[in-house]
């Protein structure tokens, strides 16, 4: 297989890819991350709460956490020899004031080119 150390895995929230077939299902892979902001950010956000609008600090926080959770999932996928993760889903729960858990999961697979599709 082509999958080498440090290569980017194909990740998708579709279930299949035209022109490629799943050679092997390797099972569920998942990643999670719980993060919170420091108090200063929370205070800034509570002021913003009076006037409405985007809370940029929280947007960044959740984006970073999602990147981290995805990275963990991909590490797991690589370690079991996958070259793609399909059917990815995200889930978010707020577990305390200013802290949220991000969970991401998908199916790790080994994809191969379907013979005769790229002629």
């Amino acid at each position: 297989m082509h999958t080498t150390e440090g290569s980017i895995l194909l990740i998708s929230n579709l279930e299949f890819l035209p022109g490629r077939t799943v050679n092997k299902h390797l099972g569920l892979v998942q990643g999670s991350s719980v993060r919170s902001k420091h108090v200063g950010r929370d205070i800034a956000a509570s002021f913003k709460n009076f006037f409405g609008g985007e809370l940029k600090g929280y947007t960044e926080l959740l984006a970073d956490s999602r990147d981290e959770a995805t990275e963990r999932m991909l590490e797991q996928a690589k370690s079991i020899g996958a070259n793609a993760v399909l059917n990815i889903r995200y889930s978010t729960s707020s577990i305390a004031a200013g802290a949220a858990e991000i969970f991401v999961y998908g199916t790790a697979v080994e994809l191969v080119d379907q013979p005769g599709t790229h002629e």
Binding site: H2, T3, P18
Partner: protein
Amino acid sequence: MNSVLIQAGLAVGLLILGYLFGTIAEKRHYKKIRQREASSAHLPVIASRYPPEDRIYEQRLVRGEVVISSDYFKGFLAGLVNFFGGRVTPFESLLDRARREAILRMKERASEQGAAYVFNIKFDTTRIATGRLAAMEVLAYGTAMVPSAETGPTLDDAVGGMLLNNSDAMTTNTQI
């Protein structure tokens, strides 16, 4: 007695400030949303699980997210509506803005990568607890379909490749 008056005054002041700033911010946001929606109309977002088979596409996961806060006035109004029941319009517009913003951010990331479609869009909405008032997070994610060169990509290109200037690498490669 005095402290009661001060508290009432503060609440009314916050209501007025919340109303003014909130309304201005909402109008401005809607204007921006409409402009960006018009300029990104060439990139359709499709809620289908079945990818197009007209040509070879690379698939990439793209996301857009936004945390949006309601204002003091919206919170107060929602409280009133909650008491009598009915449509909570202040929060409807809040979530509408957040969702459209999240879609736009996702589309912006997809078009940066040269996508032709975004397939299988999914949403995830969460209440982020910040004090008494509501802040909502909306996540939109989907699969960006990036057209490959005519000859079709190898698995390697899809797995590790960047779309940037790799059109010559898009040859059939069957080393697998």
